[in-house]
Amino acid sequence: MIQLQNVEFGYDKNRKLFNGVNLQLEPGHMYGLLGRNGAGKTTLLKIMTGLLFPQSGDAFIDGEPAYKRTAQQMSDVYFLQEEIYVPHLKIKQFEDAFAPFYPNFSHEQFTEYLREMEMDNMLGFIDKFSHGQKKKVMIAFALATNVPLLIMDEPTNGLDIPTKSIFRKIMAAYADEQKTVLISTHQVRDLHSLIDAVSIIDNGRMILNTSGDVITDKLVFDTNDEKTKEGKLYYSEETPRGIQQVKENVNHIDTPLDLELLFNAAVLNKQEFTEMFK
């Protein structure tokens, strides 16, 4: 589907943002792309979709170089930007204008997603809507395209709390074995129940890119009154509820993946995590 091989890129020739990034996205997963501010998450998404060209290395969509941006490649990918573009059109006109580009677009699903996000009765021009409303329309459209790869950059930014819940519900139902979703976000708590594979980028390198099962097989995420001594401790954080920690899973306990703790642990233990999840 998407493959990055030794990608190097920088906006400034002397300062590389990525230094040999490798990544492969497999169908049927919902990936979370995590990174600090300025780590280059959006840039990486643009490289994946052929919107930016790597200085060295290769990016592929469907086995073909992404820079080609063929019609087939572009109809297999939908990129929902953080700063969305909305033309001066009504919802129905927008659908009529752009849905024909996506062979699997479903009008029924679009209507249903709009209804779920309480946007089905909006009659005005989309560019006159509030930021959150625009985002809802674009999310509904993106989901209704039914593309094999849906890339979302900070999709929950600007959404109100009820809509975030609806979004999670819709996304949970959206996932299937044929579709891949890549969500780049800071707001991991909005999405942690959805994501089943994680990619973490830091200092120009991909620290890990693997499924949640592999992560929870190797790491334990728990909250205790005191730091446990069993297994290597990678990260701990005192909270009112106790000490949250990430440690080595020596007893093969199955704990739910906590993206925030995982991210903090990965950033603190880059080398070890890179080796562990190779």
Binding site: K46, T49, L51, L52, F53, R69, T70, A71, Q72, M74, S75, V77, Y78, F79, Q81, E83, I84, Y85, P87, H88, L89, Q93, F94, D96, A97, F98, P100, F101, Y102
Partner: protein, 248 residues
């Protein structure tokens, strides 16, 4: 190249822009030519035609306005069609749709103006030896092959500039316009020079009446056509290559 994708791109363009085109381009040109015909009582309206040409040459900037903002650029580049299909769609919109639209608007405005003036003063256009609508129309479109090619060459250069420049395209297009004038001036001067130097025998050239007296095939018959055609092909090829290399 898939014709269906081109149709979809054109359709998407119309959905987004038909209102603006109708009001701000075609509507304004039609209204201006209507008013000018009534006020001046002249069928020629040189100013309107000049404005229409400037408008048409500027138009590629509007067709590719999506490339001038980061979020709309991503939306445009991610639209499922090849770069070649996007360039061809742009060529259709700038060279056919918009040119036809402007020409029609100006003509409609003038015909309406002619009708109105004629209603009150049937002799208003007698000075120009126009006695009916047919003669009026005939006078509107004096087509010269090289002039038309020069106009389309101008569009092709603006087309490239509209894809090439991401920021402040308007000012850069003005600069491009200045450069075009220089280039075309040089082409015209070159045509004359070639005409005189290569094609016209010295004795006729020295006589100073060669264009009138001798029906000879001079370089001016073909040189502008070749020059403008080369310019057109070159800039559309460059536009395609630039589109292919356009990043978000």
């Amino acid at each position: 190249m898939n014709i269906n994708n081109i149709i979809k791109l054109v359709k998407a363009y119309f959905y987004e822009n038909w209102r603006n085109d109708l009001i701000y381009s075609f509507g304004i040109m039609a209204a201006l030519s209507l008013i000018m015909t009534i006020v001046s009582g002249s069928p020629l309206l040189t100013e309107i035609k000049l404005a229409a040409i400037v408008f048409m040459v500027y138009y590629p900037c509007r067709v590719f306005s999506k490339l001038h903002q980061p979020s709309s650029r991503i939306h445009y580049l991610m639209t499922p069609a090849t770069n070649a299909e996007k360039v061809v769609t742009g060529m259709f919109l700038t060279n056919i749709y918009f040119v036809a639209g402007i020409v029609l608007s100006v003509l409609i405005g003038q015909i309406l103006g002619y009708g109105i003036v004629n209603m009150y003063n049937p002799d208003a256009f007698a000075l120009y030896e126009i006695h009916n609508l047919g003669e009026f129309l005939e006078m509107q479109i004096p087509i010269h092959g090289d002039g038309v090619l020069m106009f389309f060459a101008g569009i092709s250069i603006m087309f490239f500039a509209a894809i090439y420049f991401k920021k402040s395209p308007f000012w850069k297009l003005l600069l491009a316009g200045f450069i075009i004038s220089l280039v075309f001036g040089a082409i015209m001067a070159g045509t004359e020079w070639l005409n005189v130097l290569l094609a016209v025998p010295a004795e006729i050239r020295n006589g100073g009446y060669y264009k009138v007296e001798h029906n000879i095939v001079t370089s001016s018959n073909w040189f502008p056509y070749v020059a403008y055609s080369v310019v057109i092909v070159y800039f559309y090829a460059m536009s395609f290559l630039r589109m292919r290399e356009t990043e978000a």
